[in-house]
Structures are given as structure tokens and as C-alpha cells.
Amino acid sequence: MKYIIETDHLTKRYGANLVVNQVNFHVPKGKVYGLLGRNGAGKTTAMKMMLQLVFPTGGSIRLFGKDCRDNAAALYRNIGSIIETPGFYGNLTGEENLKILARLRGQFSKNAVLDALEIVGLNKERRKIFSDYSLGMKQRLGIAAAIMHKPKLLILDEPINGLDPIGIWEIRTFLTKLTRDNGTTVFISSHVLSEIEQIADIIGVMHQGRLIEEVDMAELGKRSRTYTEFELSDGQLAVKIIKDHYRDTNYTIQDNTLRVYGSNHLVGEMNRDFALNGLIVTKINPREENLEEYFSKLIGGGGIA
């Protein structure tokens, strides 16, 4: 079994609306797979299909090398999940909520419940009524519910929503530890690109229901492009000069800011030509595209979130 999660042309259609379109995920064992995409890209629906909350209209899902519909009870006992804001019973305490989930799973152990609460830092608030929890505490309880049975696979949809920076750091450290020490596989989506960048081994990008990129972080590092940013007195004239003298050069222009990609060796000559044509160059910055810029470009601008 190479992949813990493997989908084959996974599709979900609501009437005429194609929400997930023939997606093929490949999530290797023991890795953190970060799923990125804008709102409505289909990330949550894809995760819900993996958890049998939503029924696919096409394709298949293999979990731990087996079709998810075969022996689902045994397969899903090895999975922990959070989908969006975790739901719990408002009239019960955090501890009581976890006990109910453990009983439903048929694996009730008071120690497991208490350990999970301690990991997420809720041991002092375990007797507090859930409806009195803050958003961050609710999210922590969701994480506790997802990990208390020591799953081999975690499917986490926006798990750091509502967490403060320290909480985010704690969860990130915990997830990293889980994969390193226990070999747990994590399939995580987030709007916070920098968080995914810090923990993911593989990144998948969904856009308009399609998986448009699935790439190893190391490979991604190699693809990151460097560019030089010029701030000039006349952007249009600068473009004309580039078109006339540097035809094969990739560039973008926004107002009077020109970005020239992958032509570092030509920066000096360009600067000279700009000056000879009467342009005033106020700034030249060598830069490297970050993950956010890379994916913004990939999905056509506008940012991931």
C-alpha cells in the first residue's frame, strides 16, 4: 500500500453544479498533505466524501489501500477528523462530549479522553459546558476528538480556525510530532498558506473543483521563480523597451512597477537601456516568489483564501 488516501476521478455534482471534478488525490503514508484552494474550490466537499458525509456522484476513494465502502467500520476507526467548525452538544462539558464520542466508537477509555484533553490544553476546562467555550477552545476540543483514539490518518479541514498564534504553534508542533513519532498521515486543508508551508510534505491545489496541482514541497522549492522588480518613472515605456530589446523575457507590469522573471543576468543591461531612454529607475529589488504568489498565479490571481 503506497497511499493512505487515493482517489480515482472523484466527482461530486449538485444538479448542474460540478463541485468536485474528477479529482485524483495521492496521499502517501506518514506524510502531511496540505490541501489549498479558494473558498468554493471543493476542498471541504472532497474531504466530506472521504468521510462518507457526502456521497460521490462519480469515481472512487481508497483508504489504507481498500475501497472506503468495503468494511467501512474497521477503516474509519483508524481515522480522526475535523470538518469546518467542530460540532458538539452544547449542554455537555468538553469531557462528556468526548466520552460520548468514545462510547459511540466502542473504544471508551477515560484515560484516552483525559490525555487528549491535556494534549490540546483543555484539561483545566474539561468540566466547562461546551456552549461556554470560546471559538479557540471549541476548535481545540475538535482536535482532541480527532486524536483521542490515536488514529493512523487525520483528515482536518481548517483545523486552526479560531486559534490564537500560540495555539496554532502548539497544534503545528503536535501534528509534526504525530507524523514523525507515530507515522500518522495527515490530510489538512487551510486558508493560512504559511501554516501549510511549514508543515506539509506535499501540497495539492484545488480550483473550481479540480485538482490543478499536486506537488512535493521539495520539488516546489525548485520551481519557485526569482524575479527582479524595477520601480520606474514610466511603466509603459519600460514595457516597450522590454518588447523591443528583450523579446523572450517574461515580465509583468503594474502601474510603474515592472517584474522581470528569470533574467537576473540581464538586469544591468536593462537598467542601462531604461536610463538611455530617459526613464528614471528609483528602485531595483531582486526577489523570490513565495508560496502565496506561486499559487495566486496558478489559480489566476486573487489569492488562495
Binding site: 468521510l51 458538539f88 459511540l104
Partner: protein, 249 residues
């Protein structure tokens, strides 16, 4: 299965619906006390027994107050998983959708039976107060206990006719549609309670069944039972089918 039922009951811990539903069903004993006092002062020559009070109370409990309350608790049990967003936490555990519903229906039946017991006990207690002050003929525990099986049978029959409201709560993911529905059926029950045709209206048919009135109305008991069972089966099938096939968006 026992675990699922236990979990359903645990989910009710500290729930405000418990005291609200108990207070609600205690309205029937209070109404019976008021009726007894009114009779005592308006028509002092009229003698009535504990059995008479129990007999009148069945009308209130099965057709009016308790039915509305049972629809409300059904709506609460079946819609709360949507309103509290808990299905997406429970289903991936995994918990079979069918078993989840069976657990809920079992918890609902237990709750209804408990509330019918509370109503029965409440009547016995308020009649005890009346008995202390004014003396109620044939007031005894043995007389009261004869009505307990009828109350429990009434609870089971009410449970059977309530299944369509579970579907309505699940489908609409809230209280409003089932509660409006309960108002409609209660109006229907009020209109048909004194008519023979009530034997064909499931919610009055169960009242006639408990009162043993169907044969005396000239209709066949089995026909009323079939109507109640058909309604019940439709409610159960729709509830199970809906959740089994629903995408939890």
C-alpha cells in the same frame, strides 16, 4: 445498540428540554385538578371517582397537551444534530446512520413513556391533594395502577403516530415545521374526538383504541390499527431513507 441508546440519553444531560417537557406534561394533572374543583363547586351533587378523572385525562394527554410536547421533543431529538452540527462529528466515527436513528427512536420511546408515567403519577398526586381536602371517591393506589398500563399503551401508540414528525424535523432541520404540524393535527383531533370518524384519523384513533371506543362506534378495531401502523411505517421509512441518502453539506 444499547450503547447508542445510552449515548442518546447521555446527550440529554442538563438539557432544558427535560424540565420543560416534565412541566408541560404536568399541565394535564393541573387541568384535571381545575376541572375537579370546578365540578365540586358548580355541581356539588355530582359524584366522581379517581377512575373518572383518569378517563377524562386521557383526552387531554393523548389528543392535546402531551401530543404537542411529544412532537416538540421529537423535533428536538432529530433536529439537534443539524442545529448543533454534530452529525459531521458522529458519522465519521463511524456510526451507522440507521443505527443512529434507531438509537434516537428508542430514546424517544423511553422519553414518551417516562412522560406518560409522570402524567399518570401527577394525576394521582393532585387527586391525592383533592382527596385530602374534599374527599375523592374510590381514591386508591390500586385504582390508579389500573390506568398505568393504559397510559403506557397510549405512550406507545403516540410514539407510533409521531414518526412523521421525526422526518419533518430531519428534513427541515428544525422545530418550526413539526410544531406547526402538531398544531394542525391537534386541531384535527379536537374536531374528531367526539365523532365516530375519528377512528380513521390516526391521532384520534389511538385515543379511541386506549378508551376501547372503536368497536362501540361500529368500526373494526383492526382497521384503526392498520391506519396507525401505515402512518407510522411511512414516518419511519421516510426518516431512515432521508438520512441514509442525505449529503451532509
Amino acid at each position: 445498540m444499547l450503547n447508542l441508546i445510552l449515548c442518546e440519553l447521555l446527550k440529554l444531560k442538563r438539557s432544558k428540554m427535560i424540565p420543560i417537557s416534565i412541566m408541560g406534561v404536568l399541565s394535564t394533572p393541573m387541568l384535571m385538578l381545575l376541572e375537579a374543583l370546578q365540578t365540586h363547586f358548580d355541581k356539588p351533587e355530582l359524584a366522581f371517582t379517581l377512575a373518572d378523572i383518569y378517563k377524562s385525562s386521557v383526552l387531554y394527554s393523548m389528543l392535546l397537551t402531551n401530543m404537542i410536547i411529544y412532537v416538540a421533543i421529537t423535533a428536538f431529538l432529530f433536529s439537534r444534530e443539524y442545529s448543533e452540527n454534530t452529525l459531521k462529528t458522529i458519522i465519521p466515527i463511524p456510526v451507522s446512520r440507521s443505527k443512529l436513528l434507531i438509537g434516537k427512536f428508542c430514546a424517544l420511546l423511553l422519553w414518551i413513556l417516562a412522560l406518560n408515567f409522570v402524567t399518570w403519577a401527577g394525576i394521582f398526586m393532585v387527586c391525592g391533594l383533592y382527596h385530602i381536602v374534599f374527599t375523592l371517591e374510590k381514591y386508591s393506589f390500586s385504582s390508579a395502577i389500573e390506568w398505568l398500563p393504559k397510559y403506557l399503551l397510549g405512550g406507545i401508540l403516540m410514539f407510533l403516530t409521531i414518526s412523521p414528525f421525526a422526518f419533518a424535523a430531519e428534513k427541515t432541520k428544525g422545530f418550526v415545521a413539526p410544531v406547526i404540524g402538531s398544531a394542525v393535527i391537534v386541531m384535527g383531533s379536537a374536531a374528531l374526538a367526539n365523532h365516530d370518524w375519528g377512528a380513521f384519523y390516526p391521532w384520534t384513533a389511538i385515543f379511541f383504541l386506549v378508551q376501547g371506543k372503536i368497536n362501540s362506534n361500529g368500526y373494526i378495531t383492526a382497521l384503526s390499527i392498520i391506519i396507525v401502523l401505515l402512518l407510522s411505517a411511512a414516518g419511519f421509512v421516510l426518516t431512515f431513507y432521508h438520512l441514509k441518502t442525505e449529503d451532509l453539506k
